[in-house]
Symmetry: C2
Subunit: 138 residues, 2 copies
DNA sequence: TTTTTTCTGCAAGTAATTTGCAACTCGCAA
DNA sequence: TTGCGAGTTGCAAATTACTTGCAGAAAAAA
């Protein structure tokens, strides 16, 4: 358990139960909005304030343990940083979120570097469109 | 001018000065937030309410005359539908918004169709990353 | 321990967008 | 032309998502 504590300490952060719970929640949820993180945390620790969740998500993002992405028109969702190894394919019709390996985007990313010197972060925004299922139905 | 009126009528919309002004503002501004659209409209017609602008942007989007995209972490920006002919390369460091032809993404889009049956709308979300300028400086 | 510093809960505050509603006006029909 | 009805507007209030100020609590340093 010293290891787990160390993880946050090494980043120069104070080890509070709230912070650990937020990090655990993000890790166990996959993608989650701040509200969902709060809900998860409160399942075991009801007292924790929503602003504490927001503040910790920001702090954890600053030290690189979590990251946010935009899957839809609204607010951000959070991931564990290690977990960002795929593209998000978001369907505008049904709202489903599919995954694809980041390598799928590699040629595109390379083209943008070569032609514009632009280094793309392909996971920050979702890939938006219509899924196979919804295309079929229409 | 009958033509211009017809354009909205053909979509089944009523022709109000507010609606025409919103559409013109979107067309002349390129990318614009609802607030910016309102500001533009008010330059000549001060009385127009912000909620009218929001409602008309939605209506115009429903009939396909305008579209929204997400360039940053926050709210949406609106374009004329005809004008969506480029990718947006948004720099996370300096906030600059560069353009690239949509064809740049064609191979990537095709890959997603072939492998996942997913039809990508590459303009809905910006391409996010670091521009050449900011990469140099660091 | 005691002290220092960071973090938390709570309440209040913003910013962006939406909604309810009564008054208006556009387009059609008489 | 005028009159009607559905669609539209302005305004105020509501909602949503997030942020901030602050005083007390709790980590970590001393
Ligand atoms: Mn959107
Ligand atoms: Mn973002
Ligand atoms: Zn779908
Ligand atoms: Zn830049």
């Amino acid at each position: 358990m010293a290891d787990k504590n160390q993880e946050l300490r090494d980043k120069g952060l104070r080890l509070t139960p709230q912070r650990q719970l937020v990090l655990e929640a993000v890790r166990s949820l996959g993608h989650a909005t701040p509200e969902e993180v709060a809900e998860k945390v409160r399942a075991t620790h009801p007292g924790i304030n929503l602003s504490t969740v927001y503040r910790n998500l920001e702090t954890l993002e600053n030290v690189g343990l979590v990251q946010h992405t935009h899957l839809g028109h609204g607010g951000a969702t959070y991931h564990a940083a290690e977990e960002l190894t795929h593209l998000h394919l978001v369907c505008s019709k049904c709202g489903s979120v599919g995954d694809a390996p980041i390598e799928t985007a590699a040629p595109f990313v390379n083209t943008l570097i070569d032609e514009y010197g632009f280094k793309t972060d392909v996971t920050h925004f979702a890939i938006y469109g219509t899924c196979a299922n919804c295309t079929e139905k229409s």
